[in-house]
């Protein structure tokens, strides 16, 4: 029972971190149809900035998060302007090459600037200890990650369903040309969603640093995980991404607990099985 509970909490925390990082990828993929293999690199950049801010500059955890989100967006803006815009609407192979090129560059630079070692982001005292829920105790940072995931999901739901930006975003996802002719400035919607996606990735990178440790190969190691969330959930679908994240979180965590030796093997096997059964995604729209 104890094991079962631990697996459940870990799976939930891991799934929520995956969700925070991947949801931006899902939205931009649904919107701009760009297969962005470099998304994990942005989460990693966020982790590095937060680690630098908290450890080397001695800033507080909250400040580190804010700095990480803003810093990553600032780094991403020129990339969107000069590289991503060139591949909107391009064939898939082109997008793959460009974004994998960006990933390699980021890994190489991170390795050069920060070295190959793991970087930690010191947690504030409040998040370090266990929290007593009455019948069980949970590590506070896991609870925090779960809470952040729920907050992001609710926030995105509100943004997309209840605001004028959301209306424009949904219109652009459904039919870009039609939205443009109705006066939606799709370029701005694209740029804003890209910034949002990158910011969320950075946020998730910081929050999840305890579960997905920050190191140069982060961007490659979790590339397939983030992509599979979008692929399984269906590009552009928030509920789909949430289900996919919880599912993958459960599979990965269970594998690590029960068969630690073969954890990754079963994880990739599960990925293949899920995509095999749902080649268009759980809630994906047929093309």
């Amino acid at each position: 029972m104890q094991v079962f509970f631990s697996i459940g909490v870990d799976a939930l925390a891991y799934g929520m971190v995956l969700f925070i990082i991947s949801i931006g990828l899902s939205v931009t993929m649904g919107l701009m149809r760009v297969v962005n293999l470099a998304h994990g690199a942005f989460a990693m950049i966020g982790g590095y900035i937060a680690s630098y801010a908290a450890r080397d500059l001695g800033l507080g955890y909250g400040f580190a998060i804010i700095l990480a989100v803003i810093g990553t967006i600032v780094i991403a803006i020129p990339l969107e302007r000069f590289l991503y815009r060139r591949i909107y609407g391009a064939p898939e192979l082109t997008q793959v090459l460009m974004t994998i090129g960006i990933t390699f560059c980021v890994i190489g630079l991170a390795n050069y600037v920060f070295g190959p070692t793991l970087k930690t982001i010191p947690l504030p005292a409040d998040l370090q200890g266990p929290v007593n829920l009455g019948f069980r105790t949970i590590a506070a940072h896991k609870l925090f990650a779960i809470g952040c995931g729920v907050a992001v999901a609710l926030g995105l739901w509100f943004l997309i369903e209840r605001t004028s930006f959301g209306v424009k975003l949904r219109a652009s996802v459904d039919n870009t040309a039609m939205a443009a002719s109705l006066g939606v400035r799709t370029r701005i919607v694209y740029a804003a969603s890209f910034a949002l996606a990158v910011g969320l990735a950075a946020f998730g990178g910081v929050i999840g640093a305890e579960l997905l440790p920050v190191e140069p190969y982060y961007a490659l190691r979790y590339m397939v995980t983030f992509l599979v969330v979008v692929s399984v959930g269906g590009a552009g679908s928030i509920p789909g991404a949430l289900i996919a994240c919880l599912l993958l979180g459960a599979i990965d965590t269970t594998g690590r607990y029960l068969v630690p030796e073969y954890g990754e093997f079963f994880f990739y096997l599960a990925v293949i099985a899920i995509v095999w059964v749902f080649p268009r995604g759980l809630l994906g729209r047929a093309k």
């Binding site: 993929m29 297969v35 590289l83 060139r86 591949i87 909107y88 609407g89 391009a90 064939p91 898939e92 192979l93 082109t94 793959v96 090459l97 460009m98 994998i100 090129g101 960006i102 990933t103 390699f104 560059c105 980021v106 890994i107 190489g108 630079l109 390795n111 050069y112 490659l220 590339m223 397939v224 992509l227 599979v228 979008v230 692929s231 590009a235 030796e261 073969y262 990754e264 093997f265 990739y268 096997l269 990925v271 293949i272 995509v275 095999w276 080649p279 268009r280 995604g281």
Partner: protein
């Protein structure tokens, strides 16, 4: 189509003239380049042989990506399967005759091609890409865990091939391995030239350009692609086995995502959809890697990334495709 679209056909579409002439030129160029390599870099034959082995991988990738239009980031699975099969055959089962090792590598490559083809072709677009990445990770993990046969993360060592044809021992300088590789490469090149010109090659080019039209002709797109995957597996498997024979070790890196991605970079750098492009891309990339990583290994990945971005932006047809375009333009202005 966007201006930055990577063209998957570096070769001109029309080739009604004397195709055999181009094959002969190709073989002559390969021969001259290999003699040049032998004379100029006698101390680097091991590197040159490794380049030849990787050429098989890139040619193999060209068959599915350049000719059929399947985007995959897991093609090293086919190469690694050939390498491990040849290595395991030698170490565990005592099959050390080099030609048999190559044949075993080819068969294992074909089997890996069949498996990954069936899996990868299940999806389209993003799903296809995810499947290809998952496949290479799965192969990697499987090889890592089956350490009784593969040596796990230490690599498989102790491969000691017999003398080639019972006459030529694999020497310390790698001369036999190099010449063996050149002979295999020329044979593969000629056979692949025949393949891409054949009706089946034409069908595959059609599939890349419009699969719906191909099925409206009554041809099976999926069966054709899987068949090409198996052929591609044979080619990659030979490359893997050659690598095992020549280096006498097989490492987990032969089954890695990075190896797959680098093969794609080499192909696009040279020009996808052309056998010459695949060969040129491999030589340029690997020689560049050799020079740069000797000077500064830290920046190698950064440079590969920058190179990729540059190719996408400035030479979407790759080196060979761009050169062929220029040559054609030049020929037109100076008849």
């Amino acid at each position: 189509m966007s201006a930055t679209g990577i063209s998957t056909s570096a070769a001109p579409a029309v080739r009604t003239g004397r195709p055999w002439q181009r094959d002969l030129i190709g073989v002559a160029v390969i021969l001259l380049a290999s003699i040049g390599g032998y004379v100029l870099f006698p101390d680097n034959l091991a590197l040159l042989t490794r380049i030849i082995a990787i050429m098989f991988l890139v040619l193999s990738l060209d068959l599915v990506t350049g000719y059929c239009g399947v985007a995959t980031l897991g093609h090293a699975a086919l190469f690694g399967a050939g390498a491990y099969a040849a290595g395991i055959a030698a170490v565990t089962f005592g099959i050390t005759e080099p030609l048999s090792m190559i044949a075993i590598g080819a068969i294992a490559g074909a089997a890996a091609g069949l498996v990954s083809g069936v899996v990868i072709l299940r999806g389209h677009g993003l799903a296809q890409l995810v499947l290809s990445i998952a496949v290479i990770h799965l192969f990697h993990e499987a090889a890592n865990k089956a350490s009784a046969y593969t040596g796990g993360s230490d690599g498989l060592s102790g491969i000691a091939p017999d003398p080639l044809l019972g006459l030529f021992a694999f020497d310390l300088w790698g001369r036999t391995a190099y010449i063996f590789g050149i002979v295999l490469l020329i044979a593969a090149f000629v056979l692949l030239r025949i393949l891409v010109r054949s009706p089946f090659g034409m069908l595959c080019r059609g599939i890349r350009q419009d699969p719906v039209r191909v099925s409206a002709m009554g041809a099976s797109v999926k069966a054709s692609l899987i068949r090409m995957y198996v052929i591609s597996g044979v080619v990659a498997g030979i490359g893997g086995a050659l690598n095992a024979v020549s280096t006498q070790v097989v490492g987990l890196d032969s089954l890695s995502f990075t190896n797959s991605a680098e093969a794609l970079v080499m192909l696009v750098l040279g020009g996808a959809g052309s056998l010459f492009g695949a060969l040129a891309g491999t030589v340029v990339f690997m020689w560049f890697e050799h020079v740069v990583s000797a000077a500064n290994p830290f920046h190698w990945l950064t440079i590969v990334g920058a190179l990729l971005i540059a190719v996408v932006l400035f030479a979407p047809k790759g080196l060979y495709g761009t050169a062929a375009d220029l040559a054609r333009r030049f020929a037109r202005s100076n008849p």
